[in-house]
């Protein structure tokens, strides 16, 4: 197996006010994969993410990026943060500029790139998230879903290798979720490694290559998404149930209603399959 792109080993972190952040967290993300991190509020997902690009530094334990340990000096952090793009949950707390274009240019300008390069990257990033038509708009006139996409563009413009998103689907209505999903799929096809946090086991099962479960500051299980059915106990330990599509698929296969199709990842896919086999 090749070297993982990002690897945390037994990371411990405690906030200055004494509250625990991470307690022996290990996680490995391989290049080009789609990773969903599942955990309740307060399980340490955000703390983990802030370790991914050096915003927080482990008290003990190691963080490796592309096989080398993270260097927490200024140059090292610069390099790491340009490779690991972090999109926070609340757009209103990460967009500061008056206009969309200006905000997206914040990161690449800080990289010290030339104006022409920055301009080109800003346009490319806006296009990747489908916001090029709205680039001149003031940020505060955008919808919540559009703001989320601007946040992603702001990180993409730094051309990271790994995109880390904290609860990207939270607060989005169905149409916006589908738009955002299309953006993520596009990025993944172009080779981007993605790690995102979610509450939603159904979404994780449908979308991810690999699922990581998190509770009480540690990553308590990691497995390939199709193997989810085998991890019912670990899910139950963090208060989640298997997506019902797994049970339904099993029941229908037992009754011979579904034939040799590959595993099905959502109830709507299951329905589509049933209808198709019906014909």
């Amino acid at each position: 197996m090749s070297v993982p792109l990002l690897q945390l080993e037994d990371v411990h972190y405690r906030y200055p006010d004494g509250s625990a952040g991470l307690a022996g967290c290990s996680l490995s993300v391989s290049r080009g994969s789609r990773n969903a991190l599942i955990g309740a509020n307060g399980s340490g997902k955000t703390t983990l993410f802030q370790h991914c690009n050096g915003l927080l530094r482990p008290a003990t334990g190691r963080v490796h990026y592309a096989g080398t340990p993270v260097d927490y000096g200024r140059a090292g952090l610069r390099a790491l943060r340009s490779k690991v793009g972090l999109v926070f949950q609340n757009p209103d707390r990460q967009l500061f500029s008056a206009s969309v274009r200006e905000d997206v240019s914040f990161g690449p300008l800080n990289l010290g790139l030339s104006d022409a390069t920055v301009a080109a990257r800003v346009e490319a990033a806006l296009q990747a998230v489908g916001m090029d038509d709205l680039a001149h708009k003031p940020v505060q006139n955008l919808s919540f879903g559009q703001k989320k996409r601007v946040c992603i563009a702001g990180v993409l413009a730094m051309e990271p290798e790994l995109l880390v998103l904290d609860e990207p689907m939270a607060g989005l209505d169905q149409a916006m979720q589908e738009e955002l999903l299309a953006v993520l799929d596009g990025l993944h096809r172009r080779g981007m490694t993605i790690l995102l946090a979610t509450h939603d086991i159904h979404f994780a099962y449908r979308w991810a290559d690999r699922i990581h479960l998190m509770a009480a500051g540690r990553c308590c299980a990691s497995f390939d998404a199709p193997a989810l059915a085998g991890h019912e106990a670990e899910l139950a330990a963090i208060g989640l149930r298997l997506p019902s599509v797994i049970g339904l698929e099993r029941q229908l296969r037992q009754r011979g209603l579904l034939r040799g199709a590959p595993p099905i990842h959502s109830c709507s896919a299951l329905l589509a399959q049933l209808q198709q086999e019906d014909c």
Partner: protein, 207 residues
């Protein structure tokens, strides 16, 4: 720069409280009038106080490399008016004493006088004067914020020197002592605060 709890003799502590009281009372009357005209102002004042408190907890990179905190009175005076800044500043200073042990209760009057009266009025006056003299917005804002910061600190030095005249050189020598010691941190801070306030106003102007 807050004078700590218990530092001023009792006559001075009472005296500065008496000196600050009319300004705060006038400020309260003025904001009460604003609230009667527009009830939403009640919420605005409370949120503005929280804003000022949080802003003054911001660590600023200072010219000398050290870090220090802005007073926020200059920006506050320009945004909310000097009259509102007296009650807002009084609450912020009280909270700094109660939540951070920064300043004190017996010295609250003296601190209100320097930071919630002199600072905001100086900022407002300097801003108005600079605008009348056709200075650009940026220059006016810089002068208002940095000079208000400096005047606040001069006032504090006066308060300390008055309370503790030098046994050899009297008030003047004492003033130079206090002003000299705190100049080390305060002058770079005043410049940083002026620059920050300009950046804030530039950003605000674009929204």
């Amino acid at each position: 720069m807050h004078i700590m709890e218990g530092f001023l003799p009792i006559e001075h502590a009472v005296g500065w409280s008496v000196a600050a009281a009319p300004f705060v009372a006038w400020g309260i009357r003025s904001v009460n009038r604003r609230i009667r005209e527009n009830p939403e102002q009640r919420m605005l004042l409370g949120v503005a106080a929280a804003f000022t408190f949080v802003l003054s907890a911001l660590k600023l990179p200072s010219v000398t490399g050290s870090c220090s905190h802005p007073t926020g009175t200059g920006l506050g005076a320009v945004l909310f008016g000097p009259a509102a800044m007296a009650p807002i500043g009084a609450v912020v200073l009280l909270f700094q004493a109660l939540l951070l042990a920064h300043g004190g209760l017996t010295t609250l009057g003296a601190n209100i006088f320097s930071m919630a009266v002199v600072g905001p009025f100086a900022a407002y006056g300097i801003f108005a004067l600079a605008r009348r003299l056709k200075a650009s917005l940026a220059v006016s804002v810089f002068l208002a914020a940095s000079l208000a910061d400096l005047l606040t600190y001069v006032t504090t030095s006066v308060q300390l020197a008055w309370a503790f005249p030098d046994p050899v050189g009297g008030f003047g020598a004492s003033f130079l002592k206090f002003a000299g010691i705190f100049a080390l941190t305060q002058i770079p801070l005043a410049i940083s605060e002026g620059l920050l306030t300009v950046v804030i106003c530039n950003a605000l102007a674009r929204f």
